[in-house]
Symmetry: C2
């Protein structure tokens, strides 16, 4: 099994159970590898697995959403395309966000800086496009933050209410709220 394949199989486990809620036994079952084999790929154990998954997810997000935002084109179109990427990325809100997952308990202790850096990166990329669209820099940053907060909040609601509509609504309204 390739390392990437292993990473791929670890994702849903961490997503569903959170960092502390995911045991090596679960990760072993999820991958089909024995515990000891997991340590072959991830000598640092569970924390390395989580960190690797986090980075992998981040690079996936970079390839879709951030790539879209950084490309050429009309800001409004780029934002619309990015929203569509976000919908896929979060599977209409059914996928929890690793930023939120990793911001609690022991995961927060281990990965706080990493998580913060990723969130700031997303905010910056989004704000940049708003500036391209003629919005003042400080306003742009605030709108970008609020947009990401809306997404995070919608993910919480979807999880609790078992209903993807709150997420769909946020995505629907996002371009308008970002561009004013």
């Amino acid at each position: 099994m390739s390392k990437e394949e292993a990473i791929f199989k670890l994702i849903p486990a961490f997503r569903k159970h959170g960092y502390e809620g995911t045991s090596l036994t679960m990760l072993s079952k999820a991958t089909g590898l024995g515990k000891a084999s997991l340590y072959h790929y991830f000598p640092g154990g569970k924390s390395e697995m989580a960190a690797t998954v986090f980075d992998y997810i981040g690079s996936e997000l970079g390839k879709s959403v951030l790539k879209t935002l950084q490309g050429e084109g009309e800001p409004k179109l780029k934002i619309q395309a990015a929203c569509e990427s976000l919908r896929e990325f979060y599977d209409s809100g059914r996928n929890s966000c690793f930023l939120a997952i990793m911001s609690f308990g022991e995961a927060d202790k281990l990965f706080h800086d990493k998580v913060k850096a990723r969130l700031e990166l997303m905010i910056e990329n989004l704000a940049k496009v708003l500036v391209e669209a003629g919005i003042e820099k400080e306003i742009a940053k605030i709108r970008a933050q609020d947009a990401i907060a809306q997404i995070q909040g919608a993910l919480v609601l979807v999880r609790i209410l078992d209903d993807t509509k709150p997420f769909e609504r946020v995505i629907e309204g996002l371009p308008g709220r970002l561009l004013g």
Copy 2:
């Protein structure tokens, strides 16, 4: 030690570490009681402790925010007062919300219905005031949901960015967005 006193001391532990991240050892230290003494107050163990804390927090929220919303008076003023209660309740965003905490991993398995019911109660109460203010019922429900999502999202950002401004901003703008 009274049971209420014990509950009170359990709160910050669960808030900080989440359900699975909080061990009986932590809860023992937080209360100053031995593990066995905790079982005197909570025979159901950790899950009963968490459920009791969740209900306690819910009743606190009922006494402040929901009470304000259900009282007599101008809808706009009630909403403004409720927002102020929310700011205190979440300590400007420094307190995580138990709805979010309990919506992951094992806690979700144990408490999903309880959590969902509480969230729906909050949405209904908020929507009711909007209807009083002359807003159409379906719109009111959606706005109430979105408002709570914004709060939840802001709490995530505050945690990760170590900055309460996203939360303050949401609270500031909430009455306006709710009433249109």
